[in-house]
Amino acid sequence: MIFDIAVLTIFGLIIIGMAAYGYKISAKTAEDYMLGGRTIGVVVMFFFVLFAISSSWTFYGFPGLLYLEGPGYVFFIWGSVAGFAGLYMFLGPRIWALTKMNRFLSPVEALGERYESKTLRLVLAISILAFIVPYVGIQPLGVGAGFQALTGLPALWGAIYTAVLLIFLVLLGGMRIVAWVNIFLGIVYVTALMGSMLWIVNVALPGGLPGAATAILETQPELLSAPGPRGTFTPVLMGGTFIVGLLAFSWPHVVIGAMTARDKNLFKWFPLLIFVFGGLFFYIIPFIWGSLVAPAIMPLEALTARAAELGTSVEIEADRVVQTIIVQELPGWFGVFVLMGVIAAAVSTAAVQLMTSSVIVARDVIQGVFKPDADDREVTRWARWSVIGIVILSLSISVIDTGAMALYLTDVSIPGFAQWSPALVGGLLWKRGTRQGAIAATVVGVVYLVLGLLITPGGSRVLLLDLHPIVPTLLVNTIVYIVVSLLTPAPSEEIQTQFFDEVDEFLRSES
């Protein structure tokens, strides 16, 4: 245990050291703290974004679901790859140019100005914070379980360790160092996830991956196709999962990444990395882990027996199956390296979400509503200190009911993120989109989502027509946006020039 704690201490000190260095070299301006001075290049941006979206879920939840339900859930990944690439190909250049030209520091601020509405700015800020803040707390708690399994210390210690790292990293380092640290964390994470898989295949699967597939064909063949052993992933659910993945372009902590770009060339090269490294390499590792390696080494019967022995459920043990196999098959010292990988995944995601939340709190809520005359230093100070408040709040929400939080993430956060997408896409691409349309659509979408999730007579989500929450709510949101925009006066010529014509001109001239 002393070895494990020493390694984790060194790992934590490296991250804190990088944050302190970031503080030392930073320009101490709001733009530098919140957007890394808009100097992020394509390689750093790639690691920044990829590991902002690849949380500890890619180590636990994703392979666990594939292990139980077969390969159908992978369509979420294919949709997400297209969604992220689409953001950088089609919306990213405009978000970047618009915010750079006008010195906007948050995407919510940009939309508030585009629609000339402080009300919309506040509505968007509150709804995004409501959906993103609980995510931050989930990550340290997830690490806590792995920490307990490895060191024997209470899970709370692991959660506190991760939370402290997060606070130091974001409070001191700001967006630039969060992006840079994500390279370090990403390398640790990929090495742990892929290294463990290669090692396991080498020691436990002499027939390699074809041998694993053959073994599964003999014991549980339905695991190798849809709808899977439980019949869950029907064609309709897989199609819906794919479409939900496509909406990944609206995740606020990914959108803000586009604002940190150094120049427009980033948007030309970034999709190449997303397709090649993300789609054809990175996400295939947990897929192979969950759908082939884990079921071949530890069939469902063995996992069910383990769950009964430990007094847990098959679902909980499936989430931990990768870690269980690593602990059983590989030397003990490798366990701490894997936990470092999980911590890296958790911190890299939560830090970007925390950074995004603090920018919105400081720039859009405090300066946008309560202290409009706050200067640059004051806004930066608010952003830094709000970090501590957000971490405490998010951890408290998560601790109250972790069961409900799992539901919150899948059924609330992702549909919640999508509710600002009509206002975002319309604001960037459609001159006719109006303030009234954006406010009405966002409010209707969020209220419909909340009511649809709360009103469940007999366990049925009648208001949501028993569909995935994102489908009916986003459809209604989009229709309201278009109809109300067409029924209300068009934005002024001045706004259309500033947010469309000048942006086009800037992008064509910028080199």
Partner: protein
Amino acid sequence: MREVMEHTAGKIYLTYLAATIVGMVVAIVRGAMSVPEGGEPFLLFGWMTAPLVAGVIFVLLWLVGYLVYFFKFWPYR
């Protein structure tokens, strides 16, 4: 995206991407990921399942389209 819609190459590119999305949804809904009754699961190279193969083809199609459009036709290149 406004700049993409302003020229023919861009319109073709968007149509191509939309066609791949529709193609993927149609393939899923028509049961291409399932096993025919009495049949065995599809396994390319002995281990790549149908949803994995479908996704790899989808990403490759997007990659090819992106390389052609962004390096030859993108107005801001």
